[in-house]
């Protein structure tokens, strides 16, 4: 699926975020490097929720961080609200920063265990001088309430006293403190139990409506993705496989990898015996990705063409794009 191409971009609808040909590389040793994100393009419309799914280690977190310029990507452009932020220098970038907030995958370790919860959430407000101490204190309480924590009980406690889920909620409160326009959520609910997960997802939904928030939602829980997203982008080894609306994707996934992914979702019913389409074979080394389609070493439909030629995104239905030489059709 090593897919490239830009057919799926909707540049005439004035997207909030346009990412083109983004490349992020990590050095492995003196000679070799991994392209964790290998030339990805996508866009996010205002008020939309774009979900990114894909195999563990395929570059989702790297992609999310690269949008925030943390660290700066090696190639490509990221245009936010008409401004190419890859071209901004340090100071201008700092001014843009509060507009994009990220809930990190390692949210728990990003909370300083020695700080009191109120200070953790107050910090960004203080740094950006949002109101007096009293106003900020009210805002902190509101934020805590909105993520389902009782301010009276938690304000003065320190992060290490909380369970995993509670920590996650604190970090969400911190991220929305600055009223960002774009929120990049890197697996924000994977550590939460279903009920709080639902609360948080509804909360994100509410904020989307109230504040016109646009969300990039990285997750591997396909049911959650279906509930919250307007568009889904499936990744494999630093490339795009498929872009579609969640309903299209789950009903008619056209890429062999997407199909395997959907088939692997565990069903909460012990009587159902799931028939999985397994993704066999060794996961390829990201240092030497397979030629042509990067999924070909594990794809049942792979042909010679797949090894020779990298598939480009093609439209298989309205707003449904797939990067595969032999897309599955039902």
């Amino acid at each position: 699926m090593a897919g490239s191409g830009k057919l799926h971009l909707r540049l005439d609808s004035d997207p909030l975020l346009i990412v083109q040909d983004l490349v992020v590389q990590y050095k492995v040793n003196r000679k070799s490097f991994v392209s964790a994100v290998a030339g990805i393009s996508f866009d996010v419309l205002r008020g939309e929720t774009l979900a990114i799914v894909g195999e563990s280690g395929c570059g989702k977190s790297t992609l999310g961080k690269a949008i925030m310029q943390l660290p700066r990507p090696q190639g490509g452009t990221v245009v936010l609200d008409g401004v190419d932020i890859t071209a901004l220098d340090g100071n201008d970038l700092r001014d843009v920063r509060p507009k994009v907030q990220m809930i990190f995958q390692d949210a728990i370790s990003s909370l300083d265990p020695r700080l009191q919860v109120k200070n953790i959430i107050d910090e960004p407000l203080k740094v950006w001088k949002k109101g007096t101490a009293a106003e900020r204190s009210v805002k902190v309480d509101n934020l805590l309430n909105s993520v389902g924590l009782d301010p009276v009980v938690v304000r003065d406690r320190r992060a290490y006293e909380f369970s995993g889920g509670q920590c996650q909620r604190i970090s969400i409160a911190r991220a929305i403190a600055l009223d960002p326009v774009l929120l990049v959520c890197d697996e924000p609910v994977s550590a939460l139990d279903v009920s709080i997960q639902a609360q948080i997802l509804n909360l994100l939904q509410d904020m989307k409506e109230k504040l016109g928030l646009t969300i990039i939602f990285i997750s591997h829980d396909l049911a959650v993705v279906k509930a919250v997203s307007s568009r889904v982008l499936v990744m494999y080894l630093g490339k795009i496989c498929e872009v579609a609306s969640p309903d299209d994707l789950y009903a008619r996934a056209a890429h062999p990898y997407s199909r395997a992914l959907i088939a692997a979702v565990p069903i909460p019913n012990p009587d159902v015996i799931v028939k999985r389409i397994s993704v066999d074979g060794e996961p390829p080394s990201p240092v030497n990705p397979p030629s042509g389609c990067r999924f070909r070493t594990r794809c049942a439909s792979a042909s010679e063409r797949c090894a020779a030629e990298e598939p480009q995104l093609q439209e298989v239905g309205l707003g449904h794009f797939v990067a595969c030489h032999h897309p599955v059709t039902n």
Partner: protein, 324 residues
């Protein structure tokens, strides 16, 4: 079937500035060799504390009461040095947060090999070979290269798999897996769960699987325990629980799972309210403030844990489907 672990009236509380925090309250539980038990429950209900305290991995602010028996011997009154003899080989744990449970300044390889060398007395080469094999089994691409990396250079899901590899390195008899697959995509999750199932088959390993994912519970466990506010509120065989749940809390939990067959963009159901403050326990049923079936009795009296003939346990005055 013989028991590998038995908890009797096990409680854990923390000494906090706001008073004693009762994280686990009066848990009775026994697990047979090779059995797989799922623990589900809201965040903060005490699942992690229960598993860590059972192993004996608690900070000094914690007080544990009740008894823990491991392979027939009481271990809850042993000194740490004595308990430690079981760690790694007898019981092992997959820690909840993959991002913080690896030492950031040591290479993956040395963290994996360490236990093999120290606990199993392997030579360096043996340990290295075994580590590579473990990494392959948890599906890490390029295991040789991964051995030389630091945790910061791996993705979240890769770290989680390393933590799993460390836990199973010495083939423990009892594995505590605290949300072991939260950072994994579904295909890798399926492979890792399969691996754990294989280990249970091969070595008759028992497993306590803490998870939020009821889909995983359905596929991987023999028995399920539902925890709420530090207590067991429902326990039953997995099929029984899913077919015939008794607790209003379990029902509410089930209803709030997002499902693949729902159409997109729908609001998810939530359990309104939140867990009671663990420093000031409720006088009645701890779920009463949030329960749609609650009556005055529930608010003033504590429901006992009832066991039916089929072994289904619940803690409720008005169970769904009536009491037996």
């Amino acid at each position: 079937m013989s028991e590998i672990l038995k908890l009797s009236d096990f409680s854990v509380s923390f000494d906090t500035p706001r008073g004693d925090l009762h994280a686990v309250r009066g848990v009775d539980l026994s697990i047979a060799k090779g059995e797989s038990i799922g623990i589900v429950g809201e965040s903060g209900s005490g699942k992690t504390v229960l598993s860590r305290a059972t192993m004996g991995l608690m900070p000094s602010t914690a007080t544990c009461t009740g008894t823990v028996e491991f392979k027939g011997a009481v271990i809850s009154n042993l000194s740490r040095a004595e308990v430690r003899k079981n760690w790694g080989t007898g019981m092992a744990m997959v820690f909840q947060d993959p991002m913080t449970s690896l030492n950031p300044v040591r290479r993956i390889g040395s963290q994996l090999m360490e236990a093999l060398i120290v606990r199993l007395g392997m030579s360096k080469d043996q340990a290295r070979a075994r580590s590579v094999e473990l990494l392959e089994r948890v599906r890490i691409p390029d295991p040789y290269a991964a051995m030389k990396k630091y945790p910061g250079e791996l993705s979240g899901g890769m770290r989680q798999r390393i933590v799993i590899a460390i836990a199973i390195a010495c083939t423990p008899e009892l594995l505590f897996a605290d949300e072991p697959t939260t950072a994994l995509d579904v295909t890798v999750q399926a492979q890792v769960l399969e691996l754990l199932a294989e280990l249970r088959q091969e070595f008759n390993m028992a497993m306590i699987l803490v998870t939020h994912d009821l889909g995983v519970v359905a596929g991987q466990t023999d028995r399920v325990i539902v925890m709420y506010a530090g207590q067991i509120v429902e326990a039953a065989s997995t099929t029984d629980l899913f077919r015939n749940m008794k607790m209003p809390y379990t029902e509410a939990l089930m209803k709030s799972i997002p499902r693949m067959d729902q159409s997109s963009g729908q609001r998810l159901r939530v359990i309104t309210g939140r867990l009671p403050d663990p420093t000031t326990p409720e006088p009645g049923c701890s779920f009463a403030p949030r329960c749609e079936y609650a009556t005055d009795k529930c608010r003033t009296e504590k429901p006992p844990l009832v066991t039916t003939q089929t072994g289904h346990q619940y803690r409720c005055f008005f169970p769904i489907g009536g009491s037996l």
